[in-house]
């Protein structure tokens, strides 16, 4: 009798589970295939670290992450137990009396205690501490699942106290079995679907941060316009989201009080898919305003413990808007500048030539030069940043490095790529690649982290593979062991703080090189909140360098970041990206007297003054 009942409940539970899973799997399979298996070694490594060892989950929130890891490892450990008990309950085979099983149970006791401790902590956190990332309301479903897990462990531990064949023992067994089957039925439609999906999602996540596939214009791709344009990895991402809010609390736009919340974007994607209307416009699923607030700093994607890639969705949706002419007004001017002048400021080419002549730069020749220096829009045109470039040239010349520049450069296309103007990006990129191939450098050196990402990573999609290094990395290697002297001129010394550019610290992972240089040349580094691989963005990325007209009072990302840097108490802020420099100087100027006496200096100038 009880065997039959268990069969019935099991079939019912699996039926509900399978139906819901089928809906989601069908949606994922119906989407254009964007799954990628390249760099299999890197993927395997990430799988080991982030799935098995729960690295990402623990790294950002050590206590909650460890509690989660205990629950996760317990789940894995219990798989054999659950299977054995069900095989017995269903009358298939009884292995519960074997010596092997007795030993296994003994081992599981330790896991059960650990799971109880973990889930207990997580329940208290969710129900009473209520961190902001988990949302404004307490999810009843999450509490129920937490209690389910606790019940499973308690009923397991009770088996030591209750005889198997006693009434209490039978009830205990049935409670355990029913809770498992109820849990199973709840999984697919809830955030607990991540139990099954996240190992796959983590494996399929691109090994490079912010990898956004080129559009293929031959196939008339225009980006994400409607639900049917969402790729299979995006659909998988949408159903994997565990709603932990790590993306949210690390997002600089959200942190500055803007509308954008990356978690909401993923949940809106999920809702749009489940709504079933493949022709529904994504601009309606998201809000346009939120889409244009993303700086593409990558914090969301980099922090996600379940392998979600936010940037392809955000940039894809921007592409959909741009292809319909729905870019914000400020981008119209930028696109004009890029199209007509090949640089973001819209300045005349003679200005770059003036700088090239005044800095006595030679045109790159592989027979004569060791490296090609890529000036970028800032280095070529921005008077303030040209001082940093001159510092770099001075360092290179002092160390006998022979370098040259291209006769002509276009913007790498970074602002076009990140704002979704793919056509313009590809025009700029292919033009630059042709020029670079003709020049034939083995190594490119630049002071712009955005150029590093675009040339070093994005250009690979066109088959152009070149080594490009940021000046912080190049100069660190060049000056290893060189003595420092006291600063010349009015250069500040003593306590400094370093603002990691997102595209250097987070994207390129170069966090030690700039610090080593600062320390070597007498800097006493005061670390700001949010540093190294997880900096808080200056607000310039993703085309937002040009958007401060749009920003509502009190929500400027640059102001928030400047305050964080100010709170270190350091008198000098060292930057290593032209755009960070512009944004932070602007925030300092706007802060007026409250901004205090802070000096801004680019890393290259800092080093040059002390060499």
């Amino acid at each position: 009798m009880s065997t039959l009942v268990l069969w019935l409940v099991l079939v019912l539970s699996i039926g509900v589970f399978a139906a819901q899973v089928a809906t989601r799997v069908r949606l994922i399979l119906a989407a254009p295939n964007t799954f990628s298996f390249d760099h299999i070694g890197l993927r395997a490594r990430r799988f080991l670290l982030d799935v098995i060892f729960q690295r990402q989950t623990i790294a950002e929130r050590p206590a909650a992450g460890l509690a989660h890891a205990l629950v996760f490892w317990g789940f894995v450990a219990f798989a054999g137990y659950t299977t054995t008990e069900f095989l017995d309950g269903l009358g298939i085979v009884d292995l519960t009396q074997t010596a092997w099983f007795a030993g296994y149970r003994l081992v599981l006791t330790g896991f059960a205690v650990a799971v109880l401790a973990g889930i207990g902590y997580l329940l208290v956190r969710r129900a009473f501490v209520r961190p902001v990332g988990l949302g404004t309301t307490v999810s009843a479903e999450s509490i129920a699942i937490g209690l389910f897990i606790a019940t499973l462990m308690v009923t397991f531990l009770l088996t030591y106290r209750l005889a198997d064949e006693s009434t209490a023992g039978r009830i205990n067994w049935w409670v355990h079995a029913i809770v498992i089957l109820a849990f199973l039925a709840l999984i697919p439609a809830s955030k607990h679907f991540h139990l099954l999906l996240s190992p796959i999602t983590i494996f399929l996540k691109s090994p490079t941060l912010g990898h956004v596939r080129n559009l293929d214009f031959e196939k008339e791709e225009v980006g994400l316009e409607t639900v049917k344009d969402l790729g299979s990895k995006m659909a998988l991402d949408a159903f994997t989201c565990v709603e932990c809010g790590r993306c949210q609390v690390n997002c600089p736009a959200w942190g500055a009080g803007k509308e954008l919340n990356p978690k909401t974007i993923i949940l809106q994607t999920q809702a749009a898919l489940l709504a079933g209307d493949r022709e529904a416009r994504l601009a309606q699923a998201y809000t346009e305003k939120a889409l244009w607030q993303c700086t593409t700093c990558g914090a969301c994607e980099n922090q996600c413990p379940v392998g979600i890639e936010h940037l392809p969705i955000l940039i894809g949706a921007r592409r959909g808007l741009v292809s319909n002419g729905d870019a914000p007004e400020y981008l119209g001017a930028v696109y004009n500048h890029l199209e007509r002048r090949g640089n973001i400021w819209g300045l005349g080419y003679d200005q770059r030539q003036k700088f090239v002549e005044s800095a006595a730069l030679e045109t790159f020749d592989p027979a004569q030069h060791d490296v090609l220096v890529w000036l970028g829009c800032a280095g070529a045109f921005e008077a303030d940043y040209q001082k940093s470039m001159r510092s770099l040239f001075e360092i290179l010349r002092a160390r006998g490095i022979r370098f040259g520049v291209l006769a002509k450069e276009r913007c790498t296309g970074d602002p076009a790529k990140r704002t979704g103007n793919e056509y313009m990006y590809q025009e700029l990129a292919t033009g630059n690649i042709a020029d670079l191939k003709a020049a034939g450098p083995k190594k490119i050196l630049t002071s712009c982290p955005h150029c590093v990402k675009t040339i070093g990573d994005d250009y690979r999609q066109f088959g152009y593979d070149v080594e490009i290094v940021h000046s912080a990395v190049f100069v660190d290697e060049l000056l290893r062991g060189r003595p420092a002297k006291a600063a010349t001129g009015d250069a500040p010394g003593g306590s400094v703080t370093f603002h990691d550019p997102c595209y250097l610290g987070r994207y390129a992972g170069k966090v030690d090189e700039p610090r080593r240089l600062l320390t070597q040349f007498g800097g006493d580094i005061a670390e700001p909140e949010r540093n190294r691989e997880n900096p808080f963005c200056c607000g310039a990325g993703g085309g937002l360098l040009f958007a401060d007209k749009e920003e509502e009072p009190g929500t400027r990302i640059s102001d928030v970041r400047f305050k964080q840097l100010r709170e270190t108490g350091a008198g000098t802020v060292v930057t290593a990206c032209p755009f960070c420099s512009i944004m932070l100087k602007g925030a300092h100027a706007s802060a007026g007297a409250a901004g205090g006496d802070v000096q801004f200096v680019d890393l290259m100038t800092y080093v040059k003054d002390r060499l």
Binding site: Y330, R340, W345, G346, L347, A378, F381, E382, A383, D384, K387, F546, D548, K549, I582, K585, G586, A589, S590, G592
Partner: protein
């Protein structure tokens, strides 16, 4: 005879008309020892004021077409009226300023007359058979010399700013004003104009200002703004500011110049204590002449300034005001 078509709206003359008068005078002077006569035609309803204003020009006459059907601009109405006037006056050239309104009806007028049209000319050169007009092509990458073929009159429009309106010659005595009557069939006008649209304008439109005095953080405090204002008044300039000044609330946001404010292109831009962050520079790089005053000789503003004064603005500006007042 050269005919200039004036542009007016609600009795206010478009200043670009004077530029076209200057172009006509240059063409007339180059036409030979017996300089060609110039007539200006103004059309609309109740335009006596406009006609009187135009009569100051050194031209042989000002012709008016005053008709209620022309009170508001319509391409059909203007074309019908101008076709008759051109037939009556038989000019060799018909010149217009290259305004939005001109862009709207000039091609239609030229087609109706079956005559050549040259648009957006920036200069005039003498040619072997009549004048040659210079216009830019391919977004300014090339300039082309264009001469009109076919029978006269040829229709030419001039880019705004290509000629200097203030250098149009004024006559010793007002030119005679003559009204010409034309018949306009109101029923043949297919367009029904709405009341002119008035954009809810920012209270200050710096983009139209000819001179701007802009203040930056070097002004130090709100209490020093009157100094900048005095300089602006002495120059007949509008007051602008960089972002920190407006962020601090010392001046309203609509005074802000730069990528986060207005984009301006005045004839003279005076930057007081502005270091010249690129975000500011891109908003004023179109200025004709940039005068920068800053204490810091390394300030980026000096990279684009035509005249730079390294010094304390609290010393320099009073001296400038004094010099302007003498």
């Amino acid at each position: 005879m050269i005919l200039v078509i004036a542009e007016q709206r609600s009795g206010t003359l478009n200043r670009a008309t004077w530029e076209t008068v200057a172009a006509a005078q240059q063409l007339a002077a180059a036409s030979g020892p017996a300089a060609e006569a110039i007539a200006i035609v103004a059309l609309g309803s109740q335009i006596d004021g406009v006609a009187a204003e135009l009569a100051a020009a050194q031209v042989s006459e000002v012709v008016t077409i005053d008709d209620p059907a022309l009170a508001l601009y319509t391409p059909d109405g203007y074309t019908a009226a101008l076709q008759q006037v051109i037939a009556e006056l038989a000019p060799t050239l018909v010149l217009l300023p290259h305004t939005y309104q001109t862009r709207d009806f000039a091609p239609k007028l030229a087609a109706r007359l079956e005559r050549a049209l040259i648009t957006d000319a920036t200069a005039v050169k003498p040619g072997s058979s009549g004048p040659v007009f210079v216009r830019s092509m391919f977004q300014g990458k090339l300039t082309a010399d264009v001469a009109a073929h076919g029978p006269e009159p040829h229709v030419v429009t001039f880019q705004i700013g290509a000629f200097r309106g203030d250098q149009a010659g004024r006559g010793p005595a007002p030119a005679p004003i003559r009204a010409i009557h034309v018949t306009i069939d109101a029923a043949a006008i297919r367009q029904t104009p709405e009341a002119p649209f008035q954009e809810a304008k920012q209270s200050v439109d710096l983009s139209q200002a000819e001179r701007i005095v802009s203040v930056g953080r070097g002004i130090k405090g709100q209490e020093h703004l009157p100094l900048a204002r005095q300089l602006a008044d002495a120059l007949g300039a509008e007051l602008g500011a960089s972002r920190p000044i407006c962020d601090a609330g010392w001046l309203p946001m609509d005074r802000q110049v730069g990528s986060s404010g207005q984009t301006v292109a005045p004839k003279v831009y005076v930057a007081l204590g502005i270091s010249g962050a690129i975000q500011h520079l891109v908003g004023m790089k179109g200025s004709n002449v940039v005068v920068a005053i800053n204490k810091d000789p390394d300030a980026p503003i000096f990279e684009i300034a035509d005249y730079g004064i390294v010094g304390d603005l609290f010393e320099v500006v009073p001296a400038m005001i004094a010099a302007l007042k003498t």
